[in-house]
């Protein structure tokens, strides 16, 4: 049982990786916590002053630098801070990094990781609330991790680096607030990298989650239990590889399915889960439901913003809806 907050755990994981492997450097500064948690990465700068490269405001440039550094012997972790800024680096993340191993027929590898604070963080408005994960899933050659618990933050960084694949780390700006300490719902899940975790076993309905929706989903599941609905919560953990098998098995068993996803609805992560289930011909008692952010830019104004977020309440309503 890990007694750390999520934010502490991710810094500990990075520090551990840096201690173990001299080749691991940080490009972009120690912005793992974004503006609100500026100091989160400070221990890294302190322990490894020569291995944390603060950069100009030049996302395309410094992500490209990481690609080049990775292919010539380093293992950079790039911090882009708010994920909306990763759009600036799109050509390198979408059209360079993921193609290199394939295009050189396996001769050149790009062992790098890009850390992003994604999500509707409240008051980020349309331009600081990006959830780009589904776009990354459209991009063959990228590995995508999305740890939701302190324990997963601790155990997923190293295998991601070891894989030598260009990896996008989908973090969520609000996870740090959630302070998920090791608790009965998350402990002891020594799930293999690339496999989904059943965070809560249940027999009535399968709830597929990842990242922040895992937190919200587990809360919703507890409330559903009080209403007599026994929810099985499947946390995807990595979006590529995508563990369709665990989802299919669970949904096949419960015969009911809700997918909770902060992406916009159309072509989001949940669309892929839903399509996979449909294609596999899983026999559901009721049609599945996607609980996403609607296809709307994110407003600044608080009531409007709250209206759009796939919250605990909304997930609970969706669970009720498939019963």
């Amino acid at each position: 049982m890990v007694q750390m907050t999520f934010g502490e755990a991710k810094i500990a994981a990075v520090a551990q990786a840096m201690r173990q492997d001299e080749r691991v450097i940080i490009i972009g500064g120690a912005a793992f916590g974004g503006h609100r948690y500026m100091t989160l990465g400070a221990p890294l700068v302190q322990e490894f002053p020569k291995r944390v490269y603060a950069t100009p405001i030049a996302e395309l440039g410094y992500v490209g630098v990481a690609v080049g550094a990775a292919m010539t012997g380093l293992r950079p972790i790039v911090t882009v801070s708010t994920s909306s800024f990763v759009y600036e680096a799109w050509p390198q993340i979408i059209n360079e990094a993921p193609n290199i191993y394939y295009m050189t027929a396996g001769q050149t590898k790009v062992p790098m990781m890009v850390h992003l604070l994604t999500g509707i963080r409240t008051a980020g408005a349309a331009q600081h609330s990006a959830r780009p994960q589904a776009m990354f899933m459209q991009t063959p050659g990228l590995q995508i991790i999305s740890p939701a618990t302190a324990e997963d933050a601790l155990v997923m960084v190293q295998p991601a680096l070891d894989s030598e694949r260009p990896t996008v780390w989908i973090d969520h700006a609000l996870l740090m607030e959630e302070d998920i300490r090791g608790s009965s719902s998350v402990q002891g899940q020594q799930t293999a990298f690339g496999k989904a975790a059943i965070r809560r076993a249940g027999k009535d309905v399968t709830l597929v989650t990842y990242g922040i929706t895992t937190v919200r989903g587990l809360n919703a599941a507890e409330r559903a239990a009080a209403e007599g609905i026994d929810v099985e919560v499947v946390d995807l953990r990595t979006l590529c590889p995508l563990d369709r098998d665990t989802v299919l098995e669970s949904a096949g068993r419960t015969r009911r399915l809700v997918i909770a996803d902060e992406c916009s609805l159309t072509c989001g992560v949940s669309a892929e889960i839903a399509a996979s289930v449909a294609e596999a011909g899983v026999d559901l008692a009721k049609p599945l439901k996607r609980m996403n952010t609607p296809d709307v830019p994110i407003p600044f104004s608080p009531l409007e913003e709250q209206e759009l977020i796939p919250s605990e309440d909304k997930i609970l309503a969706a669970l009720r809806g498939v019963m």
């Binding site: 500064g29 609100r36 100009p56 408005a125 600081h128 104004s301 009531l303």
Partner: protein, 329 residues
Amino acid sequence: MTPPLPNEQLWEALRRMLLIRRFEETCDAISHEPYFPGHHTHLYIGQEATGAGVAMALEPEDVVFSTHRNHGHTLSRGADPGRALAEILGKATGYCRGRAGTLHGCAPELNMPYNSAIVGGNLPIAVGAALTAKHQGLSRASVMMFGDGVMEEGVFYESINLASLWQLPIILVCENNAWPKEDIQTSQPEGRGSLATKQLVNVAETFGIPAIAVDGADVGSVYDATVAARQRAVSGGGPTFIEARTRGWPGGTGKTDLSWAWGEPPTPWHRRDDAVLRLAAELERSATTSQKQLLELDSRVSQTMSEALQFAMDSPYPPAEEAYANVWP
């Protein structure tokens, strides 16, 4: 320094600058209240003279673009402080009905059609507005107010190259609040001040754009440079680059007492770099203006600001369902 602006205009400049100062101090004061959405604001304290000097040199038909640090730009362009603050609080009475917030503050009705909070996001957009003017033969300028950090983003170079090649009527106002460089920690997490060039104006000149560096805390210099740039723009002379140099406000210095202008400013920054105090001191010394008049102006502005705060606080949020308005099918 001989004021390049006639006295009554300097007075108006001070009014705008004081309004910005009081507005920003209000934002600073309430920014940790639970009803304040978001985690931080980017204040314009110390840069008021740039905003006012540029705005006073422009015409209503000019199109103005800003950045994340926009409060001073909208106010100096004539925005109502109540509606501007309402926007920052996410209220329905804001210039964008609370959709934009502090990061995206703009005022379409004042020809500030949109604001990007992305560093460099508005640069090519402002060039596009200049293209419209040139293509349609309109006598208006596009004005881009931006921070020195923008010059670290590649899009800046793409944008100024287009503006120069096409000789577009644009005024590029770079607000270098990281001046002089030696004052700046270049290893800041966000790398501000991390440009390998010696002088920002050299960059513009390399792209064939006339460039001038002015004291951004001196409203007259800013005004003069902008008048010349606007003249160049509307007469077909193409873009101008103005570097307005200021020293960043250290923050946390509380409410400004205008009487520091002729008294004892609390910090070296206030003495040397505070645009508001400098202009007030100049007016006070000029003998056309008394200390009393200055303090009266300040209390009128402060009164306006209290009313603005009250207005913003009293305004309703747009209801939750309004989230689906203005959504394309």
